[in-house]
Symmetry: C2
Subunit: 399 residues, 2 copies
Amino acid sequence: MVQQVGNGLRSATVRTRNLSQILTHLHLEGATTRSALGEVTGLTRSAVGALVGELEAVGLVRELPSEPNGSRGRPSPVVDFHDGASGPAVLAFEILVDSMAVAVVGLGCQVLSEHRIARSREQVSAVDTVRDLAGMAQRCVVEAGSPEIIGAGVAVAGLVRRGGEVAVAPNLGWVDVALAELLAAEFADLRSIDVGNEAQLAALAEARRGVAKGFGDLIYISAEVGIGGAVVSAGGPVVGHGGFAGEVGHIPVNPAGRTCACGAIGCWETEVGERALLRRAGMDSDGGRVEVGRLIELAREGDATASEVFRETAGWIGFGLAGLVNVMNPQMVVLGGMYREAFEFVGDVVVDRLATRVLEPLRKVLVVPSSLGADAALLGAAELAFDRMLPDPVRWRTS
Amino acid sequence: MVQQVGNGLRSATVRTRNLSQILTHLHLEGATTRSALGEVTGLTRSAVGALVGELEAVGLVRELPSEPNGSRGRPSPVVDFHDGASGPAVLAFEILVDSMAVAVVGLGCQVLSEHRIARSREQVSAVDTVRDLAGMAQRCVVEAGSPEIIGAGVAVAGLVRRGGEVAVAPNLGWVDVALAELLAAEFADLRSIDVGNEAQLAALAEARRGVAKGFGDLIYISAEVGIGGAVVSAGGPVVGHGGFAGEVGHIPVNPAGRTCACGAIGCWETEVGERALLRRAGMDSDGGRVEVGRLIELAREGDATASEVFRETAGWIGFGLAGLVNVMNPQMVVLGGMYREAFEFVGDVVVDRLATRVLEPLRKVLVVPSSLGADAALLGAAELAFDRMLPDPVRWRTS
């Protein structure tokens, strides 16, 4: 809307953008023939060849023997990134309330190794958490064949400032935690450690490689103890001024409702969060994922109460989503976390509720479960780490 | 978030972008010295000179005699667009429920002439509306000194499809109106007629030239009979998949509330729209702007009921806004329409409500009245029209 008044575009930057575009295409789509890269970039065969050569020289891509393609003329060479430990990789971390995970991930989002452990809800300090993650990461790197690690990304269930500080993570009990710094102290060799909100990063992964691939206008809902979210508009994340956008859990939905952990009354989280679900079922509202899992099992077995609990909760999911859909006009809503697992019991009710509460022209919205499942945020953290290199890959490798 | 995989950037496009950047800077900031344009674009003096020459040759800019600046060396020539009828201009149209307006607007958003008339709420057909606008436009062009008209923009209080069709304008009583086509039939010579939602266009104008200038993350609320809105994220509009984003009036806020014109219960509009305000005041809820004006007058005179009506309504404004702020993390919320006029009676309550309902890290949000007032959407329509030319100005003039 506001025209960017930044630097004029000089020819030197054109080369960088073309290098970035080629590597990004390989990262997202996998091995591609040189001639297809020409179509993608709109560049000539020789220009593509020169750019691929530059990427090859810094160890980012390789050319494979081309296979005859049946048509006349020379077959076009195939360009790919390096497999496994022979290429650069990133460390991906995920810190949720009930679990934490580490993975080593190569270009193209190849997961070379991964560890996930349960996390106690007794509030573990950030320092302890980081120490645990560091130990897991060391094992992961060895298991991955010790590739070159070029950076790290962290997904955390909290509000993250631009710069990597966790402003507040209510369900972790963290306030003002310099998470990137703490991690940097454990990993002195890492060039970059970027931290993001878990829902924003899960949405990033779903938009690049999951169910939302190709969908530019998107709402992602992450349901755990708290309700997180992320909005993607025209292919880009809505980040917000401080980087905190997506706190959908605190949309007011019920003026006559319960007090939220944030202090306000009737936030969406008080109607659709894990505690609300368990409370409706008459279960221990602090029972966590184990109890939610039990409730889903009960619903699968046909238990009437469990089904009714999901139906009622789904009505509230739809109520809050309706506002988001009217405001954002997305093409797709992705339900992640516990509502991915319970999608079979909530999906239809949510869709029905949207049909009555969303203005007619905005109603053509797909409601789907997350496809990357429990790993969505972890894969998003890997994407975040690669995003340091992708905009200017040769410079990142040589500077 | 999703990397754009479009065309590779060729050197030819660099020139176009630089031309666009220079003209856009002049359009937004006014007359600028050549040396300042060098700083803005990062280009050399000679490169800027060549680009300015190109823009001059197609009648878009002119160089003014430079004034001595007191420092050593030659003073830098000043570059400006043409004043008044000597430069290209656009037609701007605005169709609201209670009024419609036409203006002729030059580069830099110089309003060369303007007509605004009251519009009857008895549902006037789109054909009649367009005929009235055409007559007003003819007079406006003559009054403006008959400049070259290079395009038109239209702001309408309705949901607008990409392409310029009004999908639905509930408060105008329009469904599926090909507004751009109807206008094109009246203005055969116009190269472009672009139609947008009035709140989205008012936000565009506020972000480029109004109170929100320099604020990249923004929520604009337009309050008339209906409640419209627009979201700006990182300097760009959130448009939505179908172009319909911003229907904030239909955020559910009160499960125990009233039935909305859209058919749903408890939409934000049912608590903060014009009818809700007048109903609370015990006035005719269809009394329109005249009655709202009377209520504002009463509050100014210290009438206790009128003040209480605004206080209660402001609580609901804050309730709905809190959700938007938690989701979007804007730097600024701009209240337009009737809440611009009544800002003195609602502003503080809205701010208080946000303080209790928005998560702490997102609370630093400015709440301000619209600064462009009644003309915001009209000026936004002019910006929309200029946006046809600004990305590739020389080509637009010569093709």
